[in-house]
């Protein structure tokens, strides 16, 4: 069964550094998302992306965050200058259509900012 893949599985970085989290969504999916889960807290929406542009973003997704679909397969999340509070599991998700179709998640990247 096709799946969403995320790399790396674990990223450790120093505060102030830039990180890029990578995702390969399911190949025929058109809608892409990033969510995060801080340890012990709920899964929080960051951003949705469709037709090569951001369709919605949350308050968390400030100017330090950006997303890109640089080619036909990858979907990346960049954090420009990481803060301690960015430490979390970051989940990429995709779905085939809009409307009533479910999100399919990758296994996440654990980001640790020291």
């Amino acid at each position: 069964e096709p799946e969403v893949t995320q790399t790396p599985s674990h990223q450790v970085t120093q505060m102030g550094q830039e990180v890029i989290l990578r995702c390969v969504p399911i190949s025929n999916h058109l809608y892409f998302y990033w969510y995060r889960q801080i340890l012990g807290q709920k899964v929080e929406f960051l951003v949705s992306f469709y037709n090569n542009e951001i369709s919605e973003k949350s308050e968390i997704f400030d100017d330090q965050f950006s997303v890109e679909r640089p080619d036909g397969s990858n979907f990346t999340l960049k954090i420009r200058s990481t803060k301690l509070e960015d430490s979390a599991m970051y989940f990429c998700a995709s779905r085939r259509t809009g409307g009533r179709s479910p999100l399919h998640f990758g296994n996440g990247t654990r980001l640790t900012v020291t």
Binding site: V4, Q6, Y31, Y33, Y35, Q41, K42, V43, E44, F45, S48, S55, E56, K57, S58, F91, A93, G98, G99, R100, P102, L103, H104, F105, G106, N107, G108
Partner: protein, 114 residues
């Protein structure tokens, strides 16, 4: 701002019995609801969904019930198996919202005891 609530952080059930997980929502614009299961170190896995035009959807051992007037949904697992032990997330979305963000509840940890 808890638009999706799961008031039971944990639930323990004997193997073979029914597990009932509950979810409440506040946003009347939500019209598509999903349940996800999450094991440690993995991403959420889609289980079952329901549209607001239905009040029940069944898939094998999993049944979701929706009570729109009460803004309440529940997931029934019967019979429960030890492999069902995981964190279960309820999620909701407003289909006509262009960005179609999915809002997640805080999760309920289900333990199925052998």
């Amino acid at each position: 701002d808890q638009q999706v609530k799961q008031n039971s952080p944990s639930l323990s059930v004997q193997e073979g019995r029914i597990s009932i997980l509950n979810c409440d929502y506040t946003n009347s614009m939500f019209d598509y609801f999903l349940w996800y299961k999450k094991y440690p170190a993995e991403g959420p896995t889609f289980l079952i969904s329901i549209s607001s035009i239905k009040d029940k959807n069944e898939d094998g051992r999993f049944t979701v019930f929706l009570n729109k007037s009460a803004k309440h949904l529940s997931l029934h697992i019967v019979p429960s198996q030890p492999g069902d032990s995981a964190v279960y997330f309820c999620a909701a979305s407003a289909v006509d919202n262009y960005g179609q963000n999915f809002v997640f509840g805080p999760g309920t940890r289900l333990s199925v005891l052998p």
